[in-house]
């Protein structure tokens, strides 16, 4: 059973195609493992047992008819900020605790059409706001490498589900690092796609100009398979664009060497605050790239340190408007007050958690008359400069290599009282989000406590193909991505 759950998408598909395993068997293996581990890890908000079995059986019928898709019969779990028809979608918030959408996000309907099996909805920070999954209204998710540590966030449930083999792959979202940082902290592969490459239709918006959908997977090849399944212009999302589709075959058969690849190392990503072991592991990974034939050079992204400030103006500003719809009138929680305003206040007061309220207030303030130019307009200018930083860097190099998170997974509760410390967890992931470029997080080592460390490979907008190929080549020569946390079921049960 353990072997079945640790399969990659590519491996699972081969077994399914060869009828060595049925989608039903595979799905039951995951459901059983979820049942055993979920009480300790709490990666899911909703486990969709019946739906999963139903979808597995449907997939088996399609397989029996000789159908073949890259995800047919593959068990997948979905971050709970993506709407799913007839399947409760909470965004990790009390305000949507009992919200059951009537429709599917575009990415969800693509997965359905391909015959993927949905295991359930994954825990995350409320409305994807956070870096530890501690902001979920439905309890904290635990890092499978050490249960007293956070999994990172906001796609913490997604990272844990993949790391602990509770699903074959998971959908996540990344606004400022929400795929990459938990992927790094949990030792899995996470691709943040270029803004617009994958439809946002059906993603409960946090910061519309930054939100991206992507997958967390067991390796770079699976990341390519998921990208191929999810990408493409969507007429329902005006900000989506059509780009040349990813070539999965070329990723699978990536060259063994990296001859001719120009790798840039942004010096601003190796400054104060970075944990020694993280820096060492990342530098070792860069040395490995060099050993494989890449030409490594230092580059500068001079506005990196402004990223945090710009992000924490723009994202909350957009969020303050995006979350205005949760007013108790149409759906979700309603706490009836004495009049309309009182109902609004009570509903939102009870429905939103502290971090969401903090960001709504930040954003509202930044957009207020008299402050708009000083904050929002200025932050947009900074964003343009950060974009230019990347453009200039990519004029010199093909890809950037950097840490994902300054530290490995931190203890649960250690930063909840200090929002600014929490915000700093995203300092190396925010700039790529602001610039709209693509970036992948892949495992590249462990600290002395055995906690995973991630390597961030950043490519230009729509440069996923190269990023995936380099990640694949790296994974051909390393085994960090193959290591599994020790989840001794007997010890966990206690």
């Amino acid at each position: 059973m353990r072997a079945l759950c640790s399969l990659t998408i590519a491996e699972a598909r081969r077994l399914l195609r060869e009828r060595a395993v049925s989608a039903r068997e595979l799905t039951f293996a995951y459901l059983e493992r979820i049942q055993q581990l979920e009480p300790s890890l709490h990666a899911f908000i909703s486990v969709a047992t019946e739906l999963a079995i139903e979808m597995a059986d449907a997939a088996d019928r399609r397989i029996a008819r000789g159908e073949d898709t890259p995800l047919l019969g593959v068990p997948i779990a979905i971050k709970d900020v993506l709407v799913t028809r007839d399947l409760r979608t909470t965004a990790g918030s009390r305000i949507l605790e009992n919200y059951v959408p009537t429709w599917d996000a575009t990415v969800v309907s693509k997965l359905r059409a391909m015959g993927a099996v949905f295991l359930g909805k994954l825990n995350c920070d409320e409305f994807a706001m956070g870096s530890s999954t501690e902001n979920s209204a439905f309890g904290v998710t635990r890092n499978p490498w050490r249960l007293d540590r956070v999994p990172g966030g906001s796609s913490g449930g997604s990272a844990v589900a993949v790391a602990a083999d509770l699903c074959c792959a998971a959908l996540g979202t990344d606004t400022g690092g929400s795929i990459r940082q938990p992927a790094a902290l949990c030792g899995v592969t996470g691709l943040k796609n270029s803004y617009g490459r994958i439809s946002r239709y059906g993603l409960i918006a946090f910061a519309s100009s930054l939100d991206t959908v992507g997958a967390l997977t067991k390796d770079a090849l699976d990341a390519a398979i998921m990208l191929q399944a999810l990408e493409g212009r969507d007429p329902n999302d005006s900000t989506s664009v059509s780009a040349p589709p990813v070539d999965v075959h070329a990723v699978e058969h990536a060259p063994e060497k990296l001859q001719g690849l120009r790798v840039g190392v942004p010096k601003e990503y190796f400054t104060a605050g970075i944990q020694d072991e993280v820096e060492e592991a990342v530098r070792a990974a860069i040395a490995q790239l060099e050993a494989l034939g890449a030409r490594v050079q230092e580059v500068s992204l001079p506005r990196t340190e402004l990223g945090l400030a710009a992000y924490y103006i723009i994202a909350p500003a957009e969020a303050s408007a995006n979350l205005a719809r949760f007013d108790g009138v149409k759906y979700g929680l309603r706490v009836t007050g004495n009049d309309l305003i009182d109902t609004y206040c009570r509903t939102r007061g009870a429905g939103f958690g502290a971090e969401v309220k903090r960001r709504i207030m930040l954003g509202t303030y930044a957009l207020s008359a008299g402050y708009y130019d000083a904050y929002y307009v200025r932050a947009q200018k900074v964003r343009t400069l950060i974009k230019q930083d990347f453009e200039q860097a990519f004029a010199q190099v093909d890809i950037l290599a950097a840490p994902v998170s300054p530290t490995t997974a931190f203890p649960i509760g250690s930063k909840t009282e200090d929002p600014l410390q929490m915000y700093l967890a995203d300092v190396f992931t925010l700039p790529a989000s602001l610039a709209g470029v693509c970036a992948i997080s892949i495992p590249c080592g462990f600290d002395r406590l055995g906690l995973p460390i991630g390597l961030q490979l950043i490519g230009p907008a729509f440069g996923e193909q190269r990023v995936l190929q380099v990640a694949r080549t790296y994974q051909m020569h390393t085994d960090f991505h193959l290591r599994k946390p020790n989840l001794d079921l007997s010890s966990l049960a206690s």
Binding site: L82, V83, T89, A91, L96, Y99, P101, T102, W103, A105, R200, Y201, G202, L203, I204, A205, A207, S208, S209, P235, N236, D237, S238, T239, A317, E318, S320, A321, L323, A324, R325, F326, D327, V329, K330, Y331, L340, I341, Y344, T364, L367, S368, A369, Y372, Y376
Partner: protein
């Protein structure tokens, strides 16, 4: 009006919202044709503001807005973007309205209007032409609609997301009549362009005048009031007139005006305070990140410009200049674009059309309107009548050539309206051709004279009215087909012969 009473001048600016008559809504595929539909039946995740839903621009709505902008002589922005206007209300499902703020699609325009004193008997003939500047016209989405019943409020989102064009004038209006004239002209333009019904009664056009009074000759603006819930053009005019009077009275007695939002009580004919002055609302506008900026290139603009027809005022001027029509005729004929188009098609089909335009105008205004009225066909649906403009032109020429007389022609026209048949066919089929045979008519006239000796004597005694009776008798004998002019002449001759 005494001299003393004219010491204040009113300054009015108008903000008008017009629903654009597109098939689907501004940002989703829901039908925008939802007036009178069951509540919440024209809705989807987008216009309900469901979590995760995203807007997509309706290209047609943008084109409609550009057409109105062009008709209002506006500049059309080549680059514009959408912005979110944040405020809380249950009829606003997203908590913000997608609108335009910094860069409206249309700006810096003007419209000429003929201001008429509608209260006067001859209002169509006397007009003062005024130019009203348009500050901006921008696109946005409509909100839902609230209904309050007892302790509950019910919300219907059918209207949510219907494309809405907001048109704002400069404070150029100087009387209730000017406001009325401006809004009628605007309504007529919207209908001419076919981009909306602009029915105020159905909320498809909503006006909010803001006005202030100032001493004549002053250049400073007085304290402004806004008037809301005006459901007809007449209500706009009456409310403004009422306010001018009320404020003048207050100012004259040394009082001051409060800055308030007023409502209009149609039944009692008075305004009432809806809202006291409140602190300026902060809508926290910022660019809508879900929609790309809108770029209008020259080719698209040219394509849209080509769809803007000649408008009523220009047509009125042309009818008077080229066709020699009266202002009255021109106003009536251009009131509705369908009628104006129909009328012009008649003129175009007439040999030397402009010279015969008056005849065409008379036919349209008397016979065509009568037929449509009796059949309950609105003027805008004139094209649904079986009769075509070229056929009326033919009929007019038949009368002119003496083939039939005017009296018969009216009956032929009726028949044309029933069947759509050519007048010639109807005349032939029914044997309605005018009798102009002098010998035959002479026999008829002689017979009438012989049968009515007493009446003949009365005519000879100078009772001209009786002559008409005799003409009628002769016409009756020809079953209406007699050439009226010839009957007149022959009868006069025959009667004269009875003298002495």
């Amino acid at each position: 009006m005494t001299e003393h009473e004219t010491d204040y001048e009113v300054v009015i600016g108008m903000e008008t919202h017009i629903e654009l008559d597109t098939a689907s809504k501004m940002f989703c595929a829901c039908s925008a044709q939802c007036f009178g539909a069951e509540p919440n039946t024209h809705v989807c995740p987008v216009c309900l503001g469901m979590p995760g839903a995203l807007p997509v621009i309706n290209r047609r709505a943008v084109e409609y807005a550009m057409m109105v902008g062009l008709a209002l002589n506006c500049q059309i922005a080549r680059f514009t973007f959408w912005e979110r206007k944040s405020y809380w209300y249950p009829d606003l499902p997203k908590g913000y309205q997608i609108s335009q703020y910094q860069y409206p699609l249309c700006y810096d325009g003007w419209i000429d209007v003929d201001v008429r004193d509608v209260a006067s008997g001859t209002w169509q003939e006397h007009a003062e032409r005024r130019r009203i500047r348009i500050r901006r016209a921008h696109l946005e989405e409509d909100t839902g609609k609230l209904t309050h019943i007892g302790n509950f409020s019910y919300v219907d989102y059918n209207r949510s997301g219907v494309p809405l064009l907001e048109i704002v004038t400069e404070p150029d209006l100087r009387s209730a009549n000017e406001a009325y004239a401006y809004l009628s002209a605007l309504q007529q333009i919207v209908r001419y362009l076919g981009v909306g019904t602009a029915d105020m009664e159905k909320g498809a056009m909503r006006c909010e005048p803001n006005m202030s009074l100032r001493p004549k000759g002053s250049h400073e603006l007085g304290v402004k009031v806004e008037i809301k819930n005006l459901n007809s053009l007449r209500a706009v005019r009456d409310a403004i007139a009422y306010e001018i009077e009320r404020q003048t009275r207050i100012l004259r007695s040394g009082g001051s005006i409060q800055q308030v939002t007023l409502g209009w009580d149609e039944a009692r004919g008075v305004t009432y305070i809806q809202r006291e002055k409140e602190s300026a609302h902060d809508y926290r506008y910022f660019p809508e990140p879900d929609l790309p900026p809108l770029q209008v290139d020259e080719a698209w603009l040219a394509e849209v410009r080509a769809r803007v027809p000649e408008l009523a005022l220009a047509r009125q001027d042309r009818y008077r200049r080229d066709f020699g029509l009266s202002a009255y005729d021109a106003v009536v004929l251009t009131a509705d674009r369908a009628v104006a188009d129909w009328f012009e098609a008649v003129v175009a089909a007439l040999p030397n059309g402009p010279g015969r335009a008056k005849a065409a105008a008379n036919w349209v205004q008397s016979e065509l309107f009568r037929v449509m009225k009796s059949r309950g066909i609105p003027n805008s649906a004139v094209h649904t009548l079986p009769v075509k403009p070229a056929q009326l032109a033919e009929l007019i020429m038949m009368v002119e050539r003496g083939v039939i007389n005017h009296h018969t022609a009216k009956h032929v026209f009726e028949a044309m309206c029933d069947s759509g048949a050519d007048p010639q066919c109807i005349v032939e089929e029914r044997g309605l051709a005018q009798v102009s045979d002098a010998a035959a008519l002479r026999d008829v006239v002689e017979a009438v004279v012989a049968a009515h000796p007493q009446q003949v004597q009365q005519v000879l005694a100078g009772q001209e009215k009786v002559f008409g009776f005799l003409v009628g008798q002769a016409m009756k004998a020809t079953r209406g087909k007699g050439n009226a002019q010839m009957i007149h002449a022959l009868l006069r001759e025959a009667i004269e012969r009875q003298r002495a």
